[in-house]
Symmetry: C2
Subunit: 595 residues, 2 copies
């Protein structure tokens, strides 16, 4: 089930002023009608070409047949429709053949596809990520050779970072690129967990590969970025001979099965040609620029999976009769829909608070990226960039956690039926479990947030966040119906700032101890940020109420979810902050043999 | 991986004085050597016959082949070994052909089998449950006909409660048993979610079926319990003709796949004979007597799955090199085992605190059941019975939640590998997701705890719990190294009592509102009880330290996990209690169309 347009429109136009983006020169060619048409098209293609095959591509997962990767045939049909409608090029610059749409609109469209069939969407997301890298760092010749065919869907792309011995620790990458007398490079090594690494969906697959170069310094400074096409490309852009990239095997996952996941070997015959993209030794920072955008998309995928589960649970709760209300337990009376039971309503409201809060967080991050794309280099722009850097690990990891919890509750609402493969919620739960692992694990993002982003520039990004939250608190405090939530958020923000100070001071003395609970810190910080985005939704809802627009039940639902989040979720974060300030070191102190 | 014997022995002998049970007449035939021999046998059979097929029975799930249920052939071999060693009869009375072992020892043995292969074990658990019902409520003739063959494993058993339209709401059961002129009954109706409902593992399958009788009052008072063999049994105990029980279909689950789960139809040809077990109209209370024991076993299954995941994660963390310590990030230095990383240690310690805390909770409940089995009918016995009733929903649901969370972290420790079917942790996670659903859902147990158990006899059971916790707190407060945890537990207990009073007072006015957050109440109450069982483990560890016994690292691990639980887990419960006392009613207030 797809996120309702009413919900998307509320975020875009009532909370995040999407239409105002068209006042910026970068987006001046668009207006709300264009955005709406894009979302209409996304909704239609997602519903027609993606959603109907989500169960099938899970059941009939990619397989090796006669030495080739077999995928459900509808994979190609769906991606052809996606690319034909221009979604592959949606947010790319016009100069690269893109539509130059705001990231905000691109993410909203992505939510439709991800909710319908995240496994199909992944091929397109990986291709966009790879194309983005070449568009950002490639030479004019590389841009011409690769970017246009990738945006059209003629070439697909991958990101080749991990190796069997190097997952989170990219400093240990061993794949080696060796310069050749002709000015080119030869690639040799093994890559692991490569989604979309081999298939017959496109004329070519462009692998973006992190590799060391001879005599490069150890660690991440020795890593460079290369483009490695599966088939060599001649001077006229035609794909020819095999480029010595071999499929070693397929990984068989718990979920997200419709996306083929591979182990690849480069240059076993010594004939794998590669092109350096950008500067030698700059591979990792270049890759991370793209990965930051990808991480926001991972957050959106988590949201879309959680949201889809919520909608299924809600529909089931409306139609499934079972039991009687606690206040009227007359056996002879007919059973009521389970939506009438308090515990079911609690589980649905928790899901709503998580998935719509996650959606608000991810879309706000995308809006911020658009602001930055339009801005110059003044103080305000620098502040926005810092804030987006701070939000990125949260926008990736908070939905990965809480939208997975939403999927857990969606199964629970279905009872025994939800545990069977006849209903989609168990698949969504399996799919969503990946989001804490790929594009940087949960723990990596915790360290990134506390050890890097919260500390950078003397805590400037956190100050910017606090200033923006405080502005929201002040607006909400003026509305008596939101004053309780405003007070709760202000208090939680204070806890966040105090806790950050305590932990960073401890980390300055002893990083192991100060950063030990970075992951729970991320979790609690996410709650503060999501509570803020809920209060912004509540303010927008109140404004619509005052204007007599927006549908009374929809707005009442928004206000209820905001209240629920501030009352029932935010206190968990406050408790976590208090615990973190105690600087417990038990996990470090326990002897290894004591586990 | 199986729970280490050192861990089991610690709970049995150092915390729960298992050997003292042999002073009771009921268990006088046993001694510690007997218990140890039982556990040795359980460990051996679990390792040899259960564990090696856990992955295979998940991959090659039960299927219909030529009209028959096909199971992995090793299912039968494993259960034959289990029954040949007497485990089917372990805790049954000697008069029924059992070994009359304490429930405590039976559960400890069960933990071995469940950790090895919970899907295989389920056939035995269902058979034992059905046999227990007939042993408790059947006529002498029924006991003779059914119980002995079931304990030997010649007959298997099932529990047939749910129907397609009646899951949690057994008041709506429609299956009808009609009395016949010969004094027997004919059964007609459909049952759903019947585990072990059809297979070729045994000579016969004895279905224990809840059904209405003609003219019975509506609701649960109209439900009776019947034994329905798959094949009719003649006067000499021989199994003959088909008894008109038809397999309608198999349910295909997310996990726990090795246990066949069926929809059954009784009496489509009007030829399904049934025997009334116990009194007409008493079906549900009879069933619940047995289900209470089954619920403790469900808790143990959850613990065993969580514990197995923890052991896998720990082994992986010890051997997987990746990255460098935060305090020594020198790229040229070799990578360290991930056990050296603070966040990995935190995840392992959280798993340890949950799974060993859950183990302590379930084994304590079993120990209490043994006390009750030995007791008369004095005040102390009544108090113990009330306490066990109070603990039962917690012993079932708390492990279902937190040992599932442990499995989630076990995947996380493995990174991308943990998400693949090449490693067992994703299967354990899928298996464990069932435990919140079967044998009463999470929400049902929340209502049972707060609406029934906490309120019964003027709160007597909660007072008994508080008295026992307080006694532990006093002992721990006398040990300076445990004083912090003792204070935390005392404060949390106080919060539990205050919150219970507030919620029950509210429920007296308005049950919908007072019981709205019964599930989070169960969750937080579980944390208090588990913290208590951690403090008992810590006290036992301190006593062993003082005696110079028990292995220093093992004991240091116990003390660390107790400290971690009290510092990092218990505050969550305290925050939940504070939130519950605010009596938020948002889930009830939100309009249906606001979701």
């Amino acid at each position: 089930m797809l996120i309702p347009r009413r919900e998307i429109d509320f975020h875009l136009y009532d909370v995040l002023s999407a239409a105002a983006l068209c006042d910026e020169p970068r987006y001046a060619a668009h207006d709300r009608q264009v955005f709406d048409a894009i979302l209409d098209a996304a909704e239609r293609i997602a519903a027609d070409c993606f959603a109907p095959h989500a169960a099938a591509c899970d059941r009939d997962e990619p397989a090796l047949r006669d030495g080739r990767v077999w995928l459900l045939p509808e994979t190609r049909e769906a991606l052809d429709a996606y690319n034909a409608a221009g979604f592959g090029a949606a947010t790319f610059d016009r100069a690269d053949g893109g539509m130059q749409l705001p990231e905000l609109v691109g993410q909203a469209a992505g939510a439709m596809f991800a909710g319908a069939n995240v496994a199909f969407l992944s091929y397109a997301m990986l291709t966009a990520g790879a194309a983005r890298l070449i568009a950002s760092f490639g030479s004019p010749a590389q841009r011409a050779r690769y970017v246009a065919p990738m945006l059209e869907g003629r070439f697909f792309g991958t990101m080749c970072l991990s190796e069997p011995q190097a997952g989170s620790s990219l400093a240990d990458v061993r794949t080696l690129a060796t310069p050749q007398p002709d000015g080119g490079w030869r690639m040799n090594g093994s890559k692991m967990w490569i989604s979309g690494g081999e298939h017959e969906l496109a004329e070519n697959i462009v692998h973006l590969v992190l590799a060391r170069t001879p005599d490069a310094p150890p660690g991440v400074r020795g890593i460079s970025l290369f483009a490695v096409p599966r088939r060599r490309i001649d001077g006229d852009g035609r794909c020819g001979a095999d480029n010595d990239v071999r499929l070693v095997g397929l990984n068989h996952k718990m979920g997200w099965r419709g996306t083929v996941n591979t182990a690849l070997s480069f240059g076993e015959r010594g004939e794998c040609t590669a092109e350096l993209v950008g500067e030698e030794g700059h591979g990792l920072p270049q890759m991370f620029q793209m990965m930051n955008a990808a991480r926001i998309s991972v957050g959106m995928n988590a949201v879309a999976l959680g949201y889809s589960g919520y909608l299924h649970a809600l529909a089931y709760a409306r139609e499934r009769p079972q039991g009687r209300p606690l206040s009227a337990r007359v056996p002879a009376s007919p059973p009521v829909p389970i939506l009438r039971h308090g515990d079911v309503r609690r589980m649905l409201l928790a899901q709503k608070a998580w998935v719509e809060g996650g959606l608000a967080l991810v879309l706000y991050s995308a809006r911020l990226a658009d602001e930055i794309a339009c801005a110059g280099d003044d103080d305000a722009a620098r502040a926005a960039r810092g804030l987006l850097e701070l939000l990125t690990p949260v926008a990736k990891s908070w939905p990965a956690e809480y939208c997975l919890e939403a999927n857990k509750l969606a199964i629970q609402v279905h009872g025994g039926y939800g545990y069977t493969r006849d209903y989609p919620v168990e698949r969504l739960y399996r799919d969503n479990r990946l989001n804490h692992i790929h594009e940087g694990t949960w723990g990596i993002h915790g360290l990134d947030l506390l050890g890097r982003k919260a500390a950078m520039d003397g805590g400037a990004a956190l100050s910017e966040l606090a200033a923006r939250i405080t502005a929201t608190v002040q607006r909400a405090a003026a509305d008596q119906s939101l004053a309780e939530q405003a007070r709760a958020l202000a208090a939680a923000l204070d806890e966040l700032r105090r806790t950050t100070g305590t932990l960073l001071a401890a980390a300055a003395d002893d990083p192991e101890r100060g950063l030990l609970y970075a992951t729970p810190y991320l979790d609690a910080t996410g709650h503060v940020i999501v509570a803020w985005r809920w209060l912004e939704q509540a303010l927008a809802a109140r404004a619509l109420q005052a204007a007599g627009r927006g549908g009374p039940d929809f707005l009442a639902g928004k206000l209820a979810a905001c209240r629920y989040f501030c009352r029932c979720e935010l206190p968990r974060a406050v408790a976590t902050f208090a615990q973190l300030r105690a600087l417990d070191d038990t996990p470090l102190a326990i002897p290894d043999a004591g586990f």
